[in-house]
């Protein structure tokens, strides 16, 4: 059966206390390979970075909440934006990186507490800040992504 969701984000999956790979795969049934790969990357990241000092420099563990929040963002991301490079940060946050060059780069991160922290370099202009994140992508994040891709 080919299930076409109304949006790419299926909230029920993330509100479930069980962090289930199966649920992720079921939720991506009709979404397309790149998103499946992004979600798979997040799950793998959780496996690799869920213990203290995963980086050898004293990093905090990545939390399940940060994984859930960042996966929600992937589903909400409009399809005309490229998917990001995904990584964990020493703080335990999940970071998404959109990179064109050293001077054209935008990075956001998720801490699992409904906050997106962002920083960007756009030529000689720089920006950083935080935004509340719940059911929609904050406009400032979309503006910066457009800036990078314009």
């Amino acid at each position: 059966m080919n299930i076409v969701p109304q949006s790419r984000y299926s909230p029920g999956i993330y509100r479930n206390s069980e962090f289930s790979k199966k649920a992720f795969w079921q939720s991506t049934a009709s979404i397309g390979r790149p998103i499946e790969e992004a979600i798979e990357s997040l799950i793998e990241l959780y496996r690799q970075c869920s213990e203290t000092d995963w980086d050898g420099y004293g990093a905090n563990p990545v939390t399940k909440e940060a994984i859930i929040e960042s996966s929600a963002f992937i589903y909400l991301l409009p399809s005309d934006f490229p998917l990001p490079n995904i990584m964990a940060e020493p703080s335990g946050e999940i970071a998404f990186e959109w990179y064109k060059s050293k001077r054209m780069i935008f990075i956001i991160s998720f801490n699992g507490k409904n906050v997106i922290s962002y920083a960007g370099i756009f030529g000689s202009n720089k920006t950083h800040g935080t935004e509340y994140f719940s059911d929609t992508i904050p406009p400032v994040i979309l503006e910066n992504l457009r800036r990078l891709n314009s």
């Binding site: 020493p90 050293k102 991160s109 960007g120 370099i121």
Partner: protein, 129 residues
């Protein structure tokens, strides 16, 4: 022995323990320079006057072998002290172990830390082992 005072022209190295800390085009990712959440410092080594072999030895002996289990040394990212200072950060040479220093004075706000780490990564020169 190196001088207690840090010369802005001297190079420092941050050892790379993960292939995810650099890109396929040879550029360094910001993550490598983000400070430890526990100390708000980034651990580096002063490498002025050392041969390539001596630099890699420091990475092996003072970074890799001190991790449990030991991690593999993938490379290093070099910067000049002056490049760090231009971002508003400081270098504190504690010499424990010898030649060790910390990048300090990181802002508390994480987004500000990330922006500075992005700038450092943009200036860093990657050397793979």
């Amino acid at each position: 022995m190196v001088s207690d005072s840090v010369d802005p022209a001297e190079p420092i190295a941050r050892f790379v323990l993960s292939k995810n800390d650099y890109r396929s085009d040879g550029t360094v990712r910001h993550r490598l320079f983000l400070p430890s959440p526990k100390t708000r410092q980034t651990s580096v080594f002063r490498i002025a006057g050392l041969s390539e072999n001596q630099i890699w030895e420091i990475g092996d002996n003072e970074v890799v072998q001190k991790r449990r289990p030991p991690l593999s040394l993938t490379g290093r990212a070099d910067l000049l002290v002056r490049q760090v200072l231009t971002t508003g950060l400081h270098i504190d040479a504690d010499d424990i172990p010898p030649r060790h220093a910390n990048i300090t004075n990181w802002p508390i706000e994480q987004s500000a830390q990330r922006l500075i780490a992005m700038e450092l990564a943009g200036m860093a020169q990657l050397y793979l082992k």
